[in-house]
Every structure is written in structure tokens, then in C-alpha cells.
């Protein structure tokens, strides 16, 4: 057993161990909250990655699904006092239904035209959140979402909730990873690389695009549900178009099509604005500039860098082997 082999076998467990230990190292409630938000956005960015990164369907309104999930969960929790897992699944399914409503007609569209129809969808959803006061309570939002209780454990602080987010994040990662390594995943990649070539090879491109839309919006809805339980209060302001853009930025900064990249992108782009809080208003200016800088100087994103490091540790001298395999 040389180092490369040991590393290859243990890397995932090391990362998990660090993630599990995190609440003991970072005990500050504020930073735990940031960690939770980062985890939730990681799920959201993973789901967008499935749609945009892997299938090549551009979505600029992804936050709408996240918002639909959050509102579904919040309504179920406050009106029906539903169990956490019931809200979680319902949030996902509700988002998925809307994903299909958007996805099926939008199948006719390509590239920027698809992007703008998702953008329009995001804006319409936001307007409905604001104006449908009977259900969403308008701009005042929905208050008083009780912390989830699972098997008698009440997840009433950030530390406990962190583990719940982590658990769901891990499940989502495993699901998406298995999906991408299956027949469906390869079909999705083939749609991205060349739709006509894919259909000539017998890939039912329409079906796989629908599958991509459905699964992607399902996971976004799940992330929205987690968000609702994390902050106990949701209002339309959390689901404005700018948020879609930041999820998109997370995915691209992380590295298009890369699972570790999506997570890293979400973590980095959630932490940057918070870490810069001390410098005042200029932090968002730096955040914007950082996005531009990452695109210019590291076109493959953080994911590309991670894969390079990964390749080095696995013994390939240039770090290239791993990257090629991922492609």
C-alpha cells in the first residue's frame, strides 16, 4: 500500500470526518448558521449542476424551484404541523411538478432562449410569492416554522440542524453521483455534448431532458425545505432573481459538471461575503470582482483545481489523469 492507494481509499472518509467534526471546531452559532446555509446552497447548486452542467440546459431561474420547495414546506409546517420528512418529500415533489410544467413546454427551446424562459419563470414565481397574499402572506412572509423533530430529537439549534443538513447533503451527493454514473447520466452528458448526435445514437433526448428537469427541480425543492426549517421564516425577498444568479455563479465558480466543484463553489461563495463583513459595503463589490477573477484565471473553476490536487495526490504527476477521467 503506497500513499496514493491509501489516499484513494480514505479521501472521502477524511472529508466526511472533517465535516462531522466541524461543529466541535466552530462553535460560534453565527458561523454554524453560515455552514448550514452553505450546505443548503450546495444542494441547490448540485441540482442546478445536474440540469445546466451535465445536461446543458441553461437555467437562470433555479431559485424559483427552491422557493416553491421552501413555501411548500413552510405551509405544511405551519398549517398542518407536518412531520419534517413529509414536508421534505412534499417540497421536492411540488418543485418537481413545477419543474415539469416549465420543462415540458421549454423543451422546444435551446441555449439563451431556454435561459430566458427560465428567467421569466423565476420572475413570475417571485411575483406570485409577493402578490398571492392569501397563501404566501405576501411580503410579510411566513413566520413561526417549528424546528423539526425526528425520532424524538428536536433539532432546535444550529449545531443539531447542521447534522441534518449534512446527512441530506450526503444522500443527495450519493444519489446524483450514482445517477451520473448510470445509463441515465451518460445519456444526459450525451445530450449536452451533441443533441443531434445523441438522438442519432438512439438516446431519447426529450425523455432525458424531462428527467433532468424533474430531478433537478426535486433536489432544489428539497434544498428550499431545508432553508425554511433553518431560518424559521421565509419571505419572497429570499427568492429574488439575483439569488438564481448567485446559485449559477456557485456552479460555475465551482466548475461546470463537477460534483465536488459544486459543493466547493457553494461553500466559497457563501463564505466570501460573510468573511468580508468587516470591510463593510465594499464586500459585495469584491464578491463580484472575485467571480470575474475566478472565471478569467481559473476557467475550470475550483472543481478543476480540486481535481488537479486530487490527481497529484493519487500519484499522477501532472494531475491530468483524474481530470481526463472526469471528462
Amino acid at each position: 500500500m503506497n500513499f496514493a492507494n491509501i489516499y484513494k481509499k480514505t479521501r472521502i472518509w477524511i472529508i466526511l470526518a472533517v465535516a462531522v467534526m466541524l461543529p466541535f471546531i466552530v462553535t460560534n452559532n453565527y458561523w454554524l448558521h453560515i455552514a448550514n446555509i452553505a450546505g443548503i446552497f450546495a444542494i441547490c447548486s448540485l441540482s442546478l449542476n445536474l440540469l445546466t452542467g451535465c445536461t446543458g440546459l441553461f437555467s437562470v431561474g433555479h431559485i424559483a424551484f427552491y422557493g416553491i420547495g421552501a413555501y411548500t414546506a413552510a405551509l405544511l409546517a405551519t398549517k398542518l404541523h407536518a412531520h419534517f420528512f413529509v414536508s421534505l418529500i412534499c417540497a421536492g415533489i411540488m418543485a418537481m411538478i413545477f419543474g415539469l410544467i416549465l420543462g415540458i413546454p421549454a423543451l422546444r427551446l435551446k441555449g439563451v432562449y431556454l435561459a430566458i424562459s427560465t428567467l421569466a419563470f423565476g420572475e413570475i414565481t417571485y411575483q406570485v410569492f409577493v402578490n398571492w397574499t392569501a397563501v404566501t402572506n405576501g411580503t410579510r412572509g411566513i413566520l413561526g416554522i417549528e424546528p423539526p423533530v425526528i425520532l424524538g430529537i428536536k433539532f432546535n439549534n444550529y449545531q443539531k440542524y447542521y447534522y441534518l443538513v449534512l446527512l441530506i447533503l450526503v444522500i443527495v451527493v450519493v444519489l446524483i453521483r450514482n445517477l451520473l454514473h448510470s445509463r441515465i447520466g451518460r445519456a444526459l452528458f450525451s445530450v449536452r455534448e451533441g443533441e443531434i448526435a445523441a438522438s442519432a445514437l438512439g438516446v431519447n433526448t426529450v425523455m432525458y431532458k424531462v428527467i433532468a428537469f424533474a430531478t433537478s427541480s426535486f433536489f432544489a425543492g428539497v434544498a428550499g425545505c431545508l432553508y425554511a426549517y433553518e431560518v424559521h421564516f421565509i419571505s419572497p425577498e429570499s427568492f429574488i432573481g439575483a439569488e438564481s444568479v448567485s446559485v449559477l455563479a456557485m456552479m460555475v465558480v465551482g466548475g461546470i459538471g463537477s460534483i465536488p466543484g459544486s459543493i466547493a463553489g457553494a461553500v466559497v461563495l457563501t463564505i466570501i461575503p460573510e468573511a468580508l463583513r468587516s470591510v463593510g459595503d465594499i464586500r459585495l463589490v469584491i464578491y463580484g470582482a472575485a467571480i470575474v477573477a475566478i472565471i478569467i484565471f481559473a476557467p475550470k473553476g475550483i472543481g478543476g483545481f480540486l481535481e488537479w490536487v486530487d490527481g497529484l495526490l493519487m500519484g499522477s504527476r501532472t494531475g491530468k489523469k483524474m481530470a481526463e477521467r472526469e471528462d
Binding site: T52, F58, P105, A106, R108, L109, K110, V112, Y113, A115, I116, S117, L119, A120, F121, E123, I124, Q127, V128, V130, N131, I196, A197, G241, A242, V245, L248, A249, V252, V253, I256, D281, I282, L284, V285, Y287, G288, A289, A290, I291, V292, I295, I296, P299
Partner: protein
């Protein structure tokens, strides 16, 4: 009569959206980039005018060209820092980089001017004119005149001048243009600056209608983007048509349905147009892709 009133309002608003859309289209054709910072460029124009006119007290006829000059300089800087290094990047990367630029500018504006809204007096007088039962606000008429005038000027420039022809050639085929001895870099820069100036003028025109806010670029940019796609990104002539359809749809929605859902309805129209005619309403060819 009420309908006519709404229509005038809509066309006036729509010509501003059309100008914003024109900026998107010019950059899209030349650079192959959807410039999501276009809305912010409009905001820069509006705020430059605000500073020059209200703070420095310059009269409008001086402040207006000066604000355009400010917009030109700033857009040149943006192009130099953020766009030129990206020419060879992948498409999604370019898109995100322009989003980064827009976040950067929006927050710079917020840093300088705060989050408050500024009201801006009309450059052409506020007194509404009565024609029969119609009430016409001079600003509305001027918006249309300036909007269509600019489009006509741009058209003339692109067709008759050497620079304009070079810009069109670059947009059509970069390599062929280079072989013909056109400085591609220079035409790209010229296109970018020109698109930004058009955006800045749109920002100045809309400032008396809506309040000036640091984040005004976000909504104006989205509307302009929507108008650009409505008209078809490959047709510069479609920008105005797309803009006016969007503006009229918005005003009719506000007048007859509910002003709360004003922009939602505009987007629903957009969505329907996209589904029914994906390549924009101005395109004649069917979208058939060749391998």
C-alpha cells in the same frame, strides 16, 4: 380613450426597453456574449446624469453629453478589465463573468449613493399637455422620439461609415474580417462602447419615469433582455419591436388587470412568445439546425 392612453404610455416605456435591448443585441452579435451588466450600464448613465445635473448644477444640455462621455469611459474600462480577457473563455464562463461585473457595479453604486431612491425631474417639463381627452406627458413623447432617432442614427452609422461597416463585418465573421484588414479588437471595443452608450441613454430617459436606485439596473436589465429575446437576438431591427411589445403588454396589464402583477404578466407574454416562436418574432427562417 383609456386604451389609447395606456398604449402611448406603453410605447414610450417600450422604446426605452428597446434601447436597452439594442445594447444586448449589439454585444451579442459582435462578442457572442449576453452582457448581463447591460442594466448596470444603464444605471451608470442615469447616475452620471444625476450627479452632473443635480449635484454639479450643470444645465441639461451640458450634463446630457457629459454623462454620455462618462458612460463611454466607464464602459471602456469595463471592457478592458473584464471582457477582453474573456474572448476565448467558454460561453457559460463569459455569462457568469458578466454577472460578476454587474454585481460589482451595482454594489459600487450602492456604496456611493446608498440604498435610497432618488427622484429625478423630467428634462422636458412635467406639465401634462391635454389633447382632447388625452393627457400627454412631454417626457413620453420625447422618449419615443429619442428612442427611434437613436435607432435610425445607429442604422445609418452601421451602414454608411467605415467604422460601422467594420463593426458589422466583425460581428458576422471575426476571422474573415481580420483577413480583410479590419482591426477586430478595435471594432469589438467600439461595439461594446456604443452598446453601453445606448444603454446609458436609456437609463437617463427612464430616470424621470421611475425612481433612481442603485439596483435599478437589475430590473431594467431583465426587461431589456426580455425585449431583446422577444425581437430575436439575431435581428437588431427586432429590439424596438420587442421592447414596444413588452412595454405595451406591461401597461395594458397594469391598466386592465392589476398593477401588482404588472411585470409578471409581461413575463407571461414573453414565455408564450418563446414557446410559440422560439427564435423571436422578427425571424423569418425556421429554426432548423444543421450538423
Amino acid at each position: 380613450m383609456y386604451l389609447l392612453q395606456q398604449l402611448i404610455q406603453g410605447i414610450s416605456l417600450g422604446s426605452i426597453y428597446g434601447l436597452v435591448a439594442l445594447g444586448y443585441i449589439l454585444i451579442w452579435q459582435a462578442w457572442g456574449i449576453l452582457n448581463f451588466a447591460q442594466g448596470e450600464v444603464c444605471a451608470i448613465g442615469a447616475f452620471s446624469l444625476l450627479v452632473l445635473h443635480m449635484e454639479c448644477g450643470l444645465p441639461v444640455y451640458l450634463a446630457f453629453p457629459l454623462a454620455i462621455a462618462v458612460g463611454m469611459v466607464i464602459s471602456y474600462i469595463i471592457e478592458f478589465i473584464a471582457f477582453r480577457p474573456l474572448l476565448k473563455a467558454n460561453d457559460t464562463g463569459k455569462l457568469i463573468a458578466t454577472i460578476g461585473v454587474s454585481i460589482c457595479i451595482r454594489n459600487l453604486l450602492r456604496m456611493i449613493f446608498g440604498a435610497d431612491a432618488f427622484s429625478f425631474p423630467s428634462m422636458f417639463g412635467d406639465t401634462p399637455q391635454k389633447i382632447g381627452e388625452l393627457i400627454i406627458i412631454p417626457q413620453n413623447i420625447w422618449n419615443m422620439v429619442i428612442g427611434f432617432g437613436l435607432v435610425a442614427l445607429l442604422n445609418l452609422f452601421l451602414r454608411k461609415t467605415r467604422m460601422g461597416i467594420a463593426m458589422r463585418a466583425t460581428a458576422q465573421d471575426r476571422d474573415a474580417a481580420r483577413l480583410m484588414g479590419i482591426s477586430v479588437k478595435r471594432s469589438l471595443t467600439a461595439t461594446f462602447v456604443m452598446a453601453s452608450v445606448i444603454g446609458a441613454i436609456a437609463g437617463m430617459l427612464i430616470s424621470p419615469i421611475y425612481l433612481l436606485m442603485a439596483n435599478m439596473g437589475a430590473s431594467l436589465g431583465t426587461k431589456g433582455f426580455a425585449a431583446a429575446v422577444l425581437g430575436g437576438l439575431d435581428f437588431a431591427s427586432g429590439a424596438m419591436v420587442g421592447g414596444i411589445i413588452l412595454g405595451v403588454a406591461e401597461c395594458l396589464a397594469a391598466g386592465y388587470v392589476s398593477s401588482a402583477y404588472q411585470s409578471a404578466i409581461a413575463y407571461i407574454v414573453l414565455f408564450l412568445v418563446l414557446i410559440l416562436k422560439p427564435s423571436g418574432i422578427m425571424s423569418k427562417k425556421k429554426a432548423v439546425e444543421k450538423v
